[in-house]
Amino acid sequence: MSFKKALIVYRKELLELLRDRRTLFATVVLPVIMYPLLFMGFSAIMSRQAGVLEKRGATVAWVDSLSIRNADSGSFSKSIQDNLAKLEYFTVVPAPKALKQLYAEEEIQAIVTLSDSLSKQGLATYKLQVQYDASGERERMIYGKIEKALLATEKAEINRRLVTLKVNPELIKPMVIVPRDTSTAEKKMGSFLGMFLPYIMILTLVAGAATIAADLVAGEKERRTLETLLVSSASRSEIVWGKYLTIFTMAMVNVTINLVSLSFSLRFLMSQSGLETQGLQLPISAFLILLLAMVPLASLFAALLLSISTFSRNMKEARTYEQPIMMVSMLLGMISFVPSIEINNLLALVPVVNISLLFKAVMINEYALSHLLLTIGTTLVLDAIAIWATVKLFNTESVLFRSEDDSNVKISRANKRSFFNPFYGLVYFAIAVLALFYLGGKWQAANLVRGLQMTELALILLPVLIVLRLLKLKPKETLRLKLPRLQEVALVPFIAVSAAVLVTLAAQLINAVFPFPPEYMESMSKIFQQDVSLGMMFLVIAILPGICEEVLFRGFLIRFFGDKARNAVIISALLFAIFHLDPFRFLPVFLLGLLLGYLTVRSGSIINSMLSHAINNGLALLVVTYASQPWLKPLLQDAENFKLWVGLLALPVLATSLWMFHKVTAPKELN
């Protein structure tokens, strides 16, 4: 691996890209012209709209039902009419005969009626009714103007009355409210930009990188130039690095141009509108930090998209496979629009989300260095993994030279006989998650215990049995419903208990670094505070999940993911973790899923993992229920967590029992 050759590849790719009008247009020209056009067009439309509405003016009917009876009110009535007539583009007409109809036909947009009423002290109060259609934008504007005019009249009337009473009008002004906004103009601008800037930046980053990435490997396959490159004396990793650097560079160039163009056009727009934004500077330093934070993300996307391009046979396929990545990152990027979410140590670990939230925080200059570092660090770690994977893919000939008959259509056709392919697995899982989210959530909200029972039985267990029935598959075989051997079962409690202790400790550790939000802790403990018998609790928390969830994950879903036991175990554990719809427990649940998958696949009997799952969940219930009992208390640190030394004790127990399990389940030698 020499960087010299990677650089040769890199330089050539850049040269080629710069000669491509489309790329050049998308990366340089488009952002330069897009923002000015967007902003100017937008502001022009906005002001035009407001101006047009105003110019259209209004016809207001004036109904005076008071002056006929009460001559005194004449001057007041007149001053109102004067004030209304003073409004620009307003026509005030005395109530015409066909008032109702004219109002209905919107020839008249508002009717102001003067009447009076007596207050308790016998003082007369003028009553002004303003009739208008509040659902119309124009009508709302008209109402606003009328209200202003009326208030001005009121003020004059008060002054007049006070003067007649020989009172200084100043007397009734004991206070003035003076709002003093301490947010700087920059900060206001920042919080505004912080909403949509992350989204735009992530979008341009992914979209720009995707076009280029598709071209770089899949494009070379399509144009039949890849083989020539492979037989040249550049090694595969040199080629990957050269291409990766190309995507990365172009993505960063794209983002930079976008940021610069955006800031210029914003500044221009502000100087044009002139309002309170005068002298306002854009947060340039923030832009620089953002650019810095974009570096690892650009790198991550470059590697990810390059690996997709490597996998794809042609550009069209590459663009198709890129779609999900673009969708997911766009959705994750949108988190900046959610007003209440701010970056914290945990969210700083979620790729894309972290950058988006960091953007938001940086724009209002309220971010911690730790968040910046965590964000960059996480992204870099993922980035390294992605680059490593890409090099590996590039070295895998079955990927680089996927033959034509490998196409997805044919996969599904070939596997029609076998229902168990990854695609169907994911579809089934997606449906199950949706059912859990909508139905299960609803049931559990209505009644937690009943809801949990129904979820486990009706949503998790039953559909699997139905599907097996429909496919005429034997549940016993498919789900590995086989009685385990005694020596296996005997080991399971040791494995389950020690693993449970360790997993709780792991969760605690995570909690220490990334504190769970208190609302979350509350909702978690709610389940243990149900007013039902311990036996029922045991059924709902330990037995049912032990059976139903095992049937779904270790029995059914695990079958979809290939013959390689290791992959199937890992993927089913991942799904198991996702299924819990709980980012805070993701890792512990995933680890548990790995263990359970191993137990099932290794021993060929799902009973082992059912037992283990039930013990694991049951233990949690046991701990919460008997936390204060003298026989349990010494082991515990607080109501739910074990002391560290218990964990240290559990580690060798788990290791030994797992080792023994591995031994007793070893496949018998054929002889």
Binding site: L15, R19, T225, T228, L230, S233, A234, F401
Partner: protein, 255 residues
């Protein structure tokens, strides 16, 4: 030189079984010799050549270029090998000069040497006019010339041509044929593949007939004629294919 011993290449099939594209292939090719891999579509020619050029890894067997093992010394193998195939594409937005420089640099050739070589070859192949045109505007014949220069820019001792004349008209094909002969003159070791019997007849010192991944027979043309008692290469090829399937039937009976 090229040395291939009991080479096996299998591709996984969707139903979990494997497909043998190259089955125990062995042969050698020396310097100053043109060896032809002759076989119908899907015979395994390209696959064999891809293994030789380190693009594919064989399941078993050995292959070496100039004594360098294709599995363990890929870098040296590629350095000593020029590869040209009929259906390779070119980078449309580069000029031939840039294209050749690119590969020259990847092979670690000095810029001066690359320049000299481009001059020399473009005089020889009459390609001065289009050296600085974008390649998207070149004709197929021009493109083929560019590929030729690209394939020998690092002056490799071994040349591999995979159906080099596929899709070319007679005149352009003649350029290639002349070039292959030229390689032999310069003492290079040449392996080329084709399914056109005439081409093999005209060029090859030795012919290796390959069918369904297996070598049917190999030898110089006169010796093949003698062995089969036929003159036309087409007939000779069919003769050996029939013989192989007869053998296979006998084998099947024995089981």
């Amino acid at each position: 030189m090229i040395a291939v011993q009991a080479l096996v290449k299998e591709f996984p099939k969707k139903d979990g079984t494997t497909f043998r594209a190259v089955d125990e292939v062995s042969f050698e090719a020396a310097h100053g010799e043109i060896v032809c891999l002759l076989g119908v579509n899907g015979a395994g020619k390209t696959t064999t050549m891809r293994i030789l050029s380190t693009v594919f890894k064989p399941q078993s067997g050995k292959a070496s270029i100039e004594g360098f093992d294709v599995l363990t010394q890929g870098d040296q193998v590629r350095r000593n090998l020029g590869f040209l195939s009929g259906d390779t594409g070119l980078y449309a937005r580069l000029t031939p000069r840039e294209f050749i420089h690119y590969f020259g640099r990847l092979y670690g050739v000095q810029d001066n040497a690359i320049k000299r070589r481009i001059e020399e070859m473009s005089a020889l192949l009459d390609m001065r006019e289009f050296l600085d045109k974008k390649m998207e505007f070149l004709s197929t014949g021009m493109k083929q010339k560019v590929s030729i220069v690209r394939s020998i820019i690092h002056d490799p001792p071994v040349m591999i041509f995979d159906e080099p004349t596929a899709g070319l008209d007679i005149l352009t094909a003649r350029n290639i044929i002349a070039f292959i002969r030229d390689c032999k003159q310069r003492g290079k070791c040449v392996l080329f593949s084709t399914h056109i019997m005439r081409e093999a007849e005209r060029l090859a010192d030795r012919v290796i007939m390959i069918h369904q991944g297996r070598i049917l027979t190999q030898g110089s043309l006169p010796s093949l004629r003698e062995e089969s008692g036929l003159t036309d290469l087409d007939d000779i090829f069919v003769y050996y294919v029939n013989q192989a399937s007869a053998d296979a039937k006998v084998e099947a009976h024995e089981f």
